[in-house]
Symmetry: C2
């Protein structure tokens, strides 16, 4: 796999995590991560716009070469799925508008890639992300999930021999 | 209610209907309507981009002053809700980026406003849209649903005394 800058996205209507890693020669390096939290007093349409514009800004500042988006639990209920769908839709659109290919990975695939166990708990994911990326402190949960999906993409790409 | 050009949107990942009406002095006039059908051979991210860019084009061409988006059935299943959420998310984003206020109406409110019966069938909606807007032929279903939500907004705004 050639040198890539991977943008991981963990979409959510209240909090959308993002994480950037550089991947070269089979090793991951942390670039940055954060969480976009639209002001809850904004109406839903404006909150979606904040997610889109926040990710667009992250892309413009960091020039990733590819994006990886966390998929969805099968068990989620219809209302939660609908809200999540809106956030994922505008997140994916920001990536497409930024010229990035978009890859999607299920939460189970992400946990398998990062922790080695598809049913791992969130603190385990945070812990392994901290170790793999040699971070001095544990990343916030949404940022850790976004970094985890970026790491998953790096590994999956390796496996596919890219 | 002052003169408004209302863009109605009926989002869907396979087909997104749009309809434009002019509303002045308590009477509706048909401007245009259509359906955006992203090429099913495109990947999901690109299909979302087609919905967004299609609506953006419609907005640029017609300069609506407000948008109204069809809400969601409560009974829809989680997977359908998730797909619909993506399409609604990028549709709402196109409206926000076009500078339009976004109003949402439940399918029941739309049917009530157009047919006078919240549980009306789709052909009844098509029929009443044709009559209200004095169309020479029955509009396609997704276009009719979008026109119906635009008509609903016009009526609801009247009721609210705007």
């Amino acid at each position: 796999m050639p040198h890539e800058i991977i943008l991981g996205i963990d979409p959510g209507s209240r909090a959308t995590g993002y994480g950037l890693i550089s991947w070269e020669g089979n090793s991951a390096r942390f670039i940055g991560a954060g969480v976009i939290r639209p002001d809850p007093r904004l109406n839903f349409a404006k909150r979606l716009e904040r997610i889109y514009s926040g990710l667009t800004e992250v892309i413009a500042r960091n020039n990733p070469t590819v994006s990886a988006v966390e998929g969805v639990f099968q068990s989620v209920n219809a209302r939660a799925a609908l809200l999540l769908g809106h956030a994922r839709g505008v997140g994916i659109l920001a990536a497409v508008h930024g010229g990035l290919p978009v890859f999607e990975y299920s939460p189970m695939a992400v946990k398998q890639a990062v922790v080695g166990y598809g049913r791992a708990e969130k603190p385990q994911v945070q812990h392994m992300v901290q170790i793999v990326l040699k971070l001095s402190k544990r990343p916030a949960q949404d940022a850790a999930d976004a970094l985890a999906v970026a790491i998953c993409h790096a590994h999956s790409s390796c496996i596919k021999g890219r």
